[in-house]
Structures are given as C-alpha cells and as structure tokens.
Symmetry: C2
Subunit: 403 residues, 2 copies
C-alpha cells in the first residue's frame, strides 16, 4: 500500500474536522433534544414554492438553466440582489461588485485564500464563528482575538490588537466580524461602535470582513447600518451574505460584495475552485426574490424564530440556577450561556447527553480554545415545547455539576 | 481608498484567469462558429426529465431535500454510484471511499490543496487540461511535463521525469492524467501502457490522479480498464468523475474515489471549503441514475456526439491543407489539430475570428506555454452543418497563414 504521509501538504496537516459536524453525529439519537448545530427549522422551508420556481425557470430558460454559468454568478440573480440590497439595506452596489458563492462557507474559504499567507496575522472577535476559524486555520493564519462584551467586539481591545500587530512589524490582513446576532453569542454591534471599529480598521490599513448570515432574521429593535453601508464605498469592507438562514440552506448560495478590484480577485479564484455555482439554483432564487416570495418568507421565519427565542429565554429564566448568565438576542438563531468560571462545558457534555440534551461546547468558538465555561444554544430547530423540556434537562445537568 | 496590494496573499498573486473563460467572452458574437469552450450540446439536456426528478424528490424527501447535507455527499447518491461503478466499470468501491464534489473543478482544486505545498513537484502529461493547470498553479506547484504521443503520455518519458525528480532530492506528489479522450487531445491511453505507468508510479511512491470526465462518452472501440480498476485497491490511484458531460454541467456535481484514508482528508477539507454540495441536486441525480435515465441519456449523447465527431473529421479531411495533422478520438468532446511548427495559433487567432470561427490556442494546455502550433477543437457544441462550415472557415485562416 502507498504511504501517503510523505505526500500530504501542510494545508492537509492544518485542516481540522469541524467540532460541530463531528458532534452532530453523536447527538443524532432521536431521544436527544439538540440545541447543537445551526439548522434552520425545515418545517418552515417553502417546499411547494421551490417546486413552483423550478417549473417556472425550466419553462422560461429550458436547457440554459442546466448549462455552465458565468463564474461571477447568473446575471438575473445579481440584478435581483442589487435591487434587494438597495431596498432592504440601502446599499448601493453594482453587479461587478458582487460574486455569487456556494454559500458563506465558500466565501470564508475564499477570504482566507485571497488574503492569508501561512503565518499572516488576522484578528477576530472572541468568541467567533468556528466555521470561519476552520477556514482561517486551514490557510495557516496567525489568529489573535479582540475581547467582546454584550455589544460585541470592544473597539479599544481591537485597537490594542492592531497596535500590537503593528509593533510586531506585521500587517493585519483583515478583521473578521459577525456584527448582527453573532454566531455564537447572538449579540449585535451598535451603530456607534461600528463607526469606531471602522475608523480603527482604516487607521491600520486593514479590511473588515463583515459576515452577516442572520441579519435579516430580526425579531425586534432597529437594525444598525451594515459596515458596508457605513463605509460609503471606500473599499474598507467586504461583506458576506447567504440564503441559508432566510431561504433554504440546501441551495448552498451566498454572495460577496466588495469593491470591483477585490471582487475580480475572488472571481479568478472561483474559476480555479469550482468554475461556477449551479445556474438552476441561482435562477430559481432570482425568481423567488423577484416574485416577492423571499420577503414574505422572511416575515414568516422571523415570526416563528421569535417565538422560539422567547420560549428559550423563558425556560432559561425558569430552570437555570443562580450564577448562570445568558445573552438576549434580538434576532438570529443562537444564544450564549455562560456558567460559573470553574465549570467546563466540555467535561459537562457527557452528563448533558445522559440527560438527552445537547449543545455546542463554547471553547470551539475561541481561537485558542482556552475559555471553557460557555455553551452555544440554537433555538431555531427545536419546537417551543422541546425548548422548554430541553432547557429543563440542561439545567439539571448544570445543577449536577455546580459546586 | 484602502490599498489592497499589501493585503493580498501569494495564492492571489499566483491565480491566473482561465484563458478559455476569458476567450469565450470574445467569441460570444452570434456570427462566430465556436470550437472553443467545452460546452456539452444543450439541445440534448433532458429538461423534462429534470423537471420530473425535482417533482419526485420534493414529494419524496420534502424539506429534507432543502436542508444542509452530509459533507461526504448524500447517502442515496453514493449508494447509486457504488452500484453504477460496479455495473459499468467493474469497480469495487465502498461509500467511505467516495466524496461527492461540486464537479471536477472542485475535485482538482482539492487535489491541489491536499497534496501541494508551494514549490512541490508534480508531473502532468504535455499537453494537459488547462483547468487542472490553473488549480495546480494556484497551489504553487513546480510542474514538469511528460511527453505524449497518439497513445497519450509515454511511460519512458514519465519515468525520466520521476527519476530526475528523485535525483533533485524531491518527491513527486502526484502524476495527473486524463486517460480517456484526453482534454485537449482526445487520445486514450491503451491498457498495456496504463499498467506500465502504474508500475512506474508505484516505483517512485507517488499517486496517479486519474481525471476522467469523458470516459462514458465512447463512440467505438473497447474501453481499457480505468487506472483505479487496474490498481486493485492498492491505494495508488485517486479517480475523479463528473456528471457534467454525461448528464448536465449546471448541477455542478462530480465525485472522487480513493482509499478511505485519503477520502477522509478530502472530507475534512470540504468542510472548510463549502460544507456540502446541494442536497437537492444530489437527490435528483440519484433518482435519475436509479430510474435508468442516465444510461439511456448517455446512449443518446454518444449517438449525437459520434455524428459530430465524424462530421468534424470529414470536414478536416475535406478542407485542411497539407502539413496539418489532427487526432481521431474514439470518444469525448475534443480533437487536437497540429499545424506546421513555424505557425503560432495565438498569432493566427485574429484571422480566425475575422473568418468568424474560434478555437482554443494550444499553448494554454502546456504548463510552460512554449509549444505554439496546436489548437483544440470542440465538436460537441456546434451542429454537423456548422462544423462543416466552421472547419471550412478555419482552413481558410490556416491557408492564409501558411508559408
């Protein structure tokens, strides 16, 4: 047998299996109420409308819907999205400032490849989205974390990280943020803080990568402007959106907006990566937007997830012992529970599974894995009744481990 | 405005736009008969059957068809493919030896990332598929080429390259081959030669990457066994297949088979790259295979492309001046025309476009770009009548440039 150990690359050695995806396999037993994973509620997927869209576009475009497409993305989807961004986000973007991707994860992988040489410094919020950490680690990034509070990343801590990077003679390649209903914490960065962060990034000549999969899933309160909008086309922000949480994840579609020079680099890389994302799914999504379906669907999803979020907050209030804290997100799919400092949610995990409830271990969201007393809870997948029962079980597991 | 030049990575600097895709933009005028590109004939796409498949699977799986899927690929597609490979290719492969990819280009990009560190030696046939060169160059490969003749890559030349690599103290990471109806030349490596190549690869402890998008598009003659089959599960071969040429390219689906250890590395990398390929397209493809549609469709496509190939060979015979040579493929989508040595098909390109005919400049398929007197002609896209007319125009352009 051929021995592959001399053949694998450094990339292969750096690439680690996703904690979440491995964990999901362990929590697949039907008796477990899982707050792990980040799955949207499939009961809300517009199955009949999707069928209709396929009929419409296969009648309209026929075989053209099944041919290779432009690497940049289908023109009709980009046109629909430019209009949508203007209407919904007041973002002005031309179609050469946009690339359609195979959802957010591809966009994150591309960001990593476009900017990171092995050993290059980047800065993330702590904690942050682990799928992003996975892509950045695969690229060999030297990751530093800026601290966060209930308003997301703290500008002063970010500035300290950037200043320290400069003192080390290094250039920070980008600052990665999930500003709206962050994965994992559910917190949103207020507008004033965004302006400070943007100023700081400019001062250190670095770019902000704004990853915003949950932004349109807002239950209450007013949305701060996107970083992209606040930057007013100055090229300091690259923004990633996806249809995974507001339409269906199974289409694997997302999009990047940035200035034209940057998009051009992404397009050329995508040629080498997969040529193009599936035309048929892009055309169906364009039809879904243009027909006004997306807007209605988002309203429905927001309604459902708001109830679930509220159910989870109520259950936490009802069942959790003193000393346990949690965030109160105004939208999104996740909230973040912090236990007393001496508890380790990884060590506690087996007793949760024993109680037939699952979560994601918080340390997975720290680039250095050092903070141990948090957990991420997803509230989009389970029903309100399951949420009540699941939090009850989780609280029992916590109490069992309390000193 | 932010200056990005300090921020872009080495990957970005190495990534070049595809000559073909850039060229296709120039040849989009309707009066041009294009033998450039590698598009399957969209008139043959099974639009009505695709509609039917979507209906079937959305009724059968409902919202599960729209949810995130397993990174490895949908179980039903993998099961269908394991059976298909056994029936059609006599290949024994278990589902943990297979990964579903977003078509061949993603598989090539993954191969590059899994094996190549910047500066690592790999060996390709000369000429070879330019999309592969693009992915390998993006990864920073040090590419050497083994010579080819009308039976594909020459084992002695390959051995010389491998020996030289060894003498330089380097390990060849892999040998990349398109053994069946090669892109660009259309030639197929005979079975005896395959066995020699396999032995040579084993001797130098390297792996053969067998990229075979056209294998099932055979017009005549008997197929040699795949390298994968000839290796008898010894782990010396990684094989890439795709549905782009035998079903539809717009689904962006392909698959890799290899030993379990290697597939595991690919799966973990795909997690970081795009999580999974679209479930709905995978399920529809599984249904298409299981319903016996794929088999019938391939027969139809083979019939159509055989006629077109024959039309192109006849037209070349009829119109081309002496001193011009071409391959006679038994299948696939391409043939390869070699002009007298003093001609340069890149310099000749404007006069072809003036005559309203297009091809791909042969030098794009050489890793060093040094051989100038070839061109690749695609015969799957144009009609037989267009092929006759197009070759007539092309012959005029050639004659105009002959000494």
């Amino acid at each position: 047998m051929l021995n592959y150990s001399n053949l694998f690359s450094e990339v292969t050695k750096r690439t680690k299996a996703s904690v979440i995806r491995e964990l999901l396999k362990l929590t697949a037993k039907p008796e477990i109420i899982s707050f792990a994973g980040g799955l949207p509620d499939p009961k809300e997927f517009p199955v009949e409308d999707v069928k209709k869209m396929f009929d419409i576009i296969l009648n309209k475009y026929s075989s053209a819907a099944l041919q290779y497409g432009a690497t940049e993305g289908c023109a009709s989807l980009k046109t629909a999205l430019c209009k949508w961004l203007k209407d919904v986000e007041d973002i002005d973007v031309a179609d050469n400032q946009m690339l359609i991707t195979s959802a957010s994860q591809q966009a994150l992988d591309m960001v990593a490849r476009i900017f990171i040489n092995p050993g290059d410094r980047i800065i993330v919020a702590t904690p942050t989205y682990l799928g992003a950490l996975q892509s950045f680690q695969t690229a060999g990034a030297d990751i530093k974390g800026a601290d966060s509070d209930d308003d997301g990343v703290i500008p002063e801590s970010l500035e300290k990280c950037l200043e320290q990077t400069k003192e080390e003679g290094k250039q920070c390649k980008f600052v990665y943020l999930v500003p709206d209903f962050q994965n994992p914490t559910g917190v949103t960065i207020p507008q004033e803080r965004r302006l400070k962060i943007l100023e700081t990034a400019k001062k250190y000549n670095t770019v902000i990568v704004e990853d915003s999969p949950y932004r349109q899933v807002r239950f209450e309160g007013e949305a701060p402007k996107t970083f992209y909008n606040l930057d007013k086309g100055q090229g300091n922000v690259i923004t990633l959106f996806t249809f995974s949480k507001i339409f269906v994840p199974g289409f694997r579609l997302g999009y990047i907006i940035a200035n034209e020079e940057v998009i051009r680099k992404f397009v050329v890389l995508k040629q080498a990566m997969d040529l193009c994302s599936p035309s048929i799914l892009q055309l169906a999504t364009a039809e879904y937007i243009n027909g006004g379906y997306l807007e209605k669907h988002i309203k429905r999803v927001v309604e459902v997830y708001r109830k679930k979020r509220t159910a989870m907050l109520a259950a936490l209030e009802k069942y959790m012992p003193e000393g346990v804290k949690w965030t109160r997100p105004e939208g999104g799919l996740f909230l973040w529970v912090t236990l007393p400092k001496y508890l380790d949610t990884e060590k506690m995990f087996p007793s949760a599974i024993e109680n037939n409830v699952a979560y994601v271990v918080g340390s997975a969201f720290y680039y250095d894995g050092k903070t141990k007393n948090d957990m991420r809870l997803n509230f989009s997948y389970a029903t309100p009744e399951e949420i009540d029962e699941g939090i009850k079980r989780l609280a029992l597991a916590v109490k069992k481990n309390l000193k």
